[in-house]
């Protein structure tokens, strides 16, 4: 009963969001929220910090854009194509990256993402290089999705599918095995689990969700650029995850909302418009030094106090 109430409230917030904020920002929050959830799926539940998830977000964004623009596909088809491309890419890259652990894993994923950045920059014929992929259409038979407001509501189901998928993965037997690997890989192995396979599956699932998020983001922006693949994108999504709270899953959405609202606010200030990293970096440092548990647990405590 309580769960249902929370779901209803969350849905109401999601429906009202573009009317409170403006629609593009609202969609960005949802998409980055899913992206942060995907990172948390790996980090919070698998103990694996991917510092290269921009690869999946970005490649999916380009693929979705190309499928929508050159094949004239409807937007859910384009988004699906993007997510599948991310999944396909995650199989070899995940396999290679997972040969290292801990901080090495983070460095390797970062390096692979940077490699894709170079490739996308060189493949100007496909990606448009520095100019990016412009004029991505979003279509669906019988719907007019030109307005950002209408596209927000059109994209909402896709994002919600992603949220529910992440939630279900974490609660499933698979998710529990993943947590056991995080806590003690040798023990999970001794219990007979093929831990390498579990980690690879988790990596691919996470990349697929990141890809879905990236596709929706690119369609929402009507634009895919090299920035999608840049290392700062990988870093920002990790910041959102940590800001929300590692291992909280829904904290990712909260972290994304706080981060993007802050950045939106800063873009109106003269001093920091051209150098948002000053504030972003400072937030990062503060979170790491003093707020390592993230915002989500604090909200839980607040809710508990209100109930009493």
């Amino acid at each position: 009963m309580r769960r249902l109430a929370i779901a209803v409230v969350a849905l109401a917030i999601a429906l009202a969001l573009p009317r409170v904020l403006y629609p593009v920002l609202a969609l960005n929050i949802l998409a980055w929220g899913l992206f942060a959830m995907a990172v948390d799926l790996l980090l919070g539940f698998g103990g694996l910090l991917s510092f290269g998830h921009a690869a999946y977000w970005g490649v999916a964004g380009y693929v979705a854009g190309l499928v929508a623009r050159d094949a004239g596909a409807a937007y859910p088809v384009a988004a699906l194509a993007g997510a599948l491309a991310a999944a396909a890419l995650a199989v070899p890259l995940g396999y290679l990256s997972l040969r290292r652990k801990g901080i090495y894993f983070a460095m390797v994923t970062l390096a692979f993402a940077q490699m894709l950045y170079y490739v996308a920059n060189e493949a100007r014929g496909i990606t448009g290089g520095e100019n990016g992929l412009q004029g991505i259409p979003r279509s669906f038979p019988g719907l007019a999705l030109g307005q950002s407001m209408s596209f927000y509501y059109a994209a909402l189901p896709l994002i919600l599918i992603g949220y529910v998928a992440a939630y279900r993965i974490v609660g499933s037997p698979f998710g529990h095995v993943l947590v056991s690997i995080r806590d003690n890989e040798a023990r999970a192995q001794a219990l007979g689990y093929d831990t390498a396979r579990y980690k690879l599956i988790a990596f691919v699932l996470s990349a697929t969700l990141a890809g879905l998020a990236g596709s929706v983001y690119a369609l929402g922006q009507r634009f895919a650029s090299l920035e999608l693949l840049h290392w700062s994108t990988s870093g920002e999504v990790v910041l959102m995850t940590v800001l929300g709270g590692i291992g909280t899953l829904w904290g990712g959405v909260l972290g994304a909302a706080v981060f993007l609202l802050l950045r939106d606010f800063l873009s109106t200030s003269d001093a920091f418009r051209d150098a948002p990293g000053v504030i972003t970096g400072a937030v990062f440092i503060i979170v790491v030094l003093g707020l390592r548990r993230g915002l989500w647990p604090s909200i839980g405590r607040l809710a508990a106090r209100i109930r009493r």
């Binding site: 901080i103 390096a111 940077q114 990790v238 990293g277 000053v278 972003t280 979170v287 790491v288 390592r292």
Partner: protein, 289 residues
């Protein structure tokens, strides 16, 4: 043939920077278990110190080669004492995230102050011009960079691997608790070694100033390439950092002969191959923790 030789030299020049930077990363990682994402930023700051010394005070290249690394090392030691120390004992992830935040902060602060436009820095008069070796002519300054970095790298290797100080550092790297139990004050060495690692980055920055424009983003992509170098060489291995640095530099330049687009990708492809056949890296051993 001449083109091949010139590309080989170019590769050695790039490799010099990779070697010096990954060496600093290896020293810091060994001592503190922190992967310093901000290494590229301190490289950039080193170049800026040299640039500002010349512009504002009129101090030239040679004194800067000493002053800038010392200044950055001092800055690093203050940073370690004030903030980074609070992260000791935590998952290395947090050190990585902290230095990532630091990178964004410093890089954009410098961008606010100096803009994105690169500032030129004159080659020191003694090293301007070119040298002719056989059939090819090559800039003197670049040859100096290769020689200087080789000497500096070997010197660092010697100190870490062959002296008593290096023995303490290596012992602390492998088993900090046991080294403490043997009566060595490990913590006393953490701050200076962090400063030393950053000093090496700043040294690379000063050396880069006459070759590349001094700009706030000059270290931004170099650092990720350096990570690939470190994975190839084997994290924490001093010899691995040096060999992998030069190797990646030379192979990238040779790749560019076939297709200029390949140059940026060689390091990552090499990393992928190594992960497949020898995940520990050329000189590394697989992590146990």
């Amino acid at each position: 043939m001449d083109y091949l030789a010139i590309q080989l030299f170019n590769g050695l020049v790039n490799g010099s920077f990779y070697a010096l930077l990954s060496l600093g990363l290896a020293v810091i990682f060994g001592m503190m278990r922190i992967v310093n994402f901000a290494h590229g930023v301190f490289y950039m700051l080193g170049a800026f110190v040299a640039y500002l010394l010349l512009q504002q005070v009129g101090i030239g290249f040679w004194p800067s080669l000493v002053i800038a690394p010392l200044a950055i090392a001092l800055l690093g030691m203050l940073l370690e004492r004030s903030l980074l120390r609070r992260l000791s004992g935590l998952d290395p992830l947090y050190g990585f995230l902290f230095t990532f935040g630091l990178t964004l902060l410093i890089q954009d602060a410098m961008r606010l102050r100096f803009g994105l436009q690169g500032q030129p820095y004159a080659t020191p008069a003694e090293l301007s011009g070119a040298v002719t070796i056989g059939a090819i002519t090559y800039p003197t300054y670049r040859l100096f960079v290769v020689g200087f970095c080789l000497v500096a790298s070997v010197a660092v290797w010697y100190v870490i691997e062959r002296t008593r100080l290096g023995m303490v550092v290596r012992a602390a790297t492998e088993r900090a608790d046991l080294t403490r139990a043997l009566g060595v004050n490990v913590d006393r060495w953490i701050t200076p070694m962090f400063g030393f690692g950053l000093g090496l980055a700043a040294l690379a920055g000063v050396l880069a100033a006459p070759m590349r424009n001094v700009s706030p983003l000059m270290g931004s992509e170099l650092i990720i390439l350096t990570f690939a170098v470190v994975v190839i060489g084997g994290m924490g291995s001093i010899a691995g950092a040096i060999v992998a640095g030069f190797l990646v530099g030379v192979l990238s330049s040779i790749g560019a002969i076939f297709d200029p687009a390949i140059e940026g990708i060689v390091a990552f492809a090499l990393m992928a191959v190594l992960l497949l056949v020898r995940p520990a890296g050329l000189f590394g051993s697989l992590e146990t923790r």
